[in-house]
Amino acid sequence: MGTHNSFNLDEKFEFSGKAKTWSLIAIVIGIVAIAYGFGIGHIERTFSNLLLMGYYFACVCMAGVFFCAVQYVAQAGWSAALIRVPQAFAKVLPVAALILIVIAGAGLYFTHTVVDEEGRSVVVPYLYKIWAAHGVTDPKSEAYDAIIAGKSSFLNIPFFFGRLIVFLGVYSIFGYLLAKYSNNEDQLGGMFNYNKSFKMACIFLVIFGFTTPIFAFDTIMSLEARWFSTMFGWYNFAAMWVSGLAIITLVLILLRQKGYFTFITENHIHSLAQLIFGFSVFWTYVWFAQFLLIYYANLPEEAVYFYRRWEPEFKPWFWLNIIINFACPILLLMARDYKRMIPRVKYVCILLICGHWLDYYMMIMPGTVGGEGRSFGVEEIGIALGFAGLFTFLMLTALSKFKSTIPKNHPFIEESLHHHI
């Protein structure tokens, strides 16, 4: 074991070549898919897909901020060498937040007339059609719904947007600060910036812990506003964290293949794979806790959520969700050696990224387009590719803005470069 490393501490990431070309092509595919979806009249389906990917995109960036904050609060040493990647995610969060707010705003602004389950024709927006339907809180209106009216002090458009903007804004500010302190640390050295990061990370985690469930309730659960589950917030948190970890790991492995981050060894990948493995089990735990209680109690207003997901159009995907997000990681990453096989971890990450897309799909589609309107087609694949390209482009641009891929004055950098488990 050498005690001195020969890594280039000023290694800088250059964003060019194939990665740039392909991410730009993917963005174009996404725009074409959106135009195609709206053009052929699949407006609700396109909006649902935009919400899905907008939410996924924002969640992955939030997971980046959360990763940085957890490392600072735990005073973790192992992750110091790879912290630039989640920091790049955090720097993209403002853009992701803006896109999600625009999608939610457009989905609420554009309306169409539908005939609801009780045969009334109602003017509803394309997203959040249950609580934002016109006249839903007006007792004189034909569309009046007493249950929704009772929730309207929370679920109304100004307060909904207020929360969305405040939450995403606050997360973005903390993400920006953590990246900024790390950048200052590179130039100045010393413990000053690390201590500030620690303090900010503590404050962020408290705020994040209390607000992410509400963020998930607002953005996703309110699509089916008559139903509610207190587990939903943590279920979404688990999905966000697992998919975020999978993307952090995948980005690291791919950058390593391109000759960057050569100081990342199978030990770092092992640690990340442990987190992916553990939190996949956590995701399953929360998913199952929500499912079992509703199944066991069998109250109609709760069971309707799973009834809709057990319609023939959704049932195979419902089970596939569990297979991809639980059975695959638990079997493919269980043994110690498996977590150290970098190609294996890479493919599990890709599988989980697709798996959590399916997870979000199963959360969103039954409540928006329903069984008849759902499909896997140009809109789904194109919009997913578009957002993947946008994320890749913005994240790698943010990464290339850092002066070096190693935070060379991080107090734990030597521990991280010698991470060995």
Binding site: M1, F288, F291, L292, Y295, Y296, N298, M334, A335, R336, H420
Partner: protein, 178 residues
């Protein structure tokens, strides 16, 4: 013929002990075992200790526990005395999951403890086998099987050179029975 069974080199410092291991290995002296009061990083690789198979044992115990719990539940709830609970089918698999999970964990935990006691000969009520009592306190100890490892003076010399503070030529393997 010497009556020495084991030669013990007692070190004060783990780095000096690692040096002792290195010197013994260079002179092709087989090391019986090493006892330290704390875990030493990288010592397994140095001594060529094989990876623990405890994980495989845990997996097998877990499989056993899961199977036992599920079969038991199936026999009780479905085959032997089926109840109508809330109108659910008798074979309501989601309801079986928590208990199956708990038994999997329980069997794994108990099985791992049993495996550990078996592998280390640490049965309750049994005197533990210790080659030198200070190995649990402040000494890092290399044990060398004296039989067939001659001349003993050379081994003593190697250990001394590496910085051993004390070298013992023990006539019996374990001291803890005395």
């Amino acid at each position: 013929m010497s009556t020495t069974k084991f030669i013990l080199g007692l070190f004060e410092d783990p780095d000096e002990m690692m040096d002792g291991i290195h010197k013994l290995q260079q002179s092709s002296v087989p090391i019986y075992d090493v006892y330290t009061p704390m875990p030493i990083h990288g010592i397994e690789a140095k001594l060529g200790v094989k990876d623990s198979r405890l994980g495989y044992a845990a997996f097998m115990f877990g499989c056993t526990g899961g199977t036992v719990a599920f079969s038991m539940l199936y026999y009780m709830m479905v085959a032997d005395w089926s109840h109508n609970i809330g109108g659910k089918p008798h074979f309501a698999i989601p309801d079986f999951v928590p208990i199956t999970f708990e038994w999997t964990v329980l069997f794994t935990a108990f099985g791992m403890v049993a495996t550990f006691l078996f592998a280390t000969h640490l049965f309750p009520g049994r005197t533990p086998r210790v080659m030198d009592l200070r190995a649990t306190n402040d000494r890092f100890i290399i044990a060398i099987d004296a039989k067939g490892n001659t001349p003993h003076e050379d081994i003593t010399k190697i250990l001394k050179e590496a910085g051993a503070v004390e070298i013992k030529h023990n006539d019996r393997k374990y001291v803890s029975y005395e």
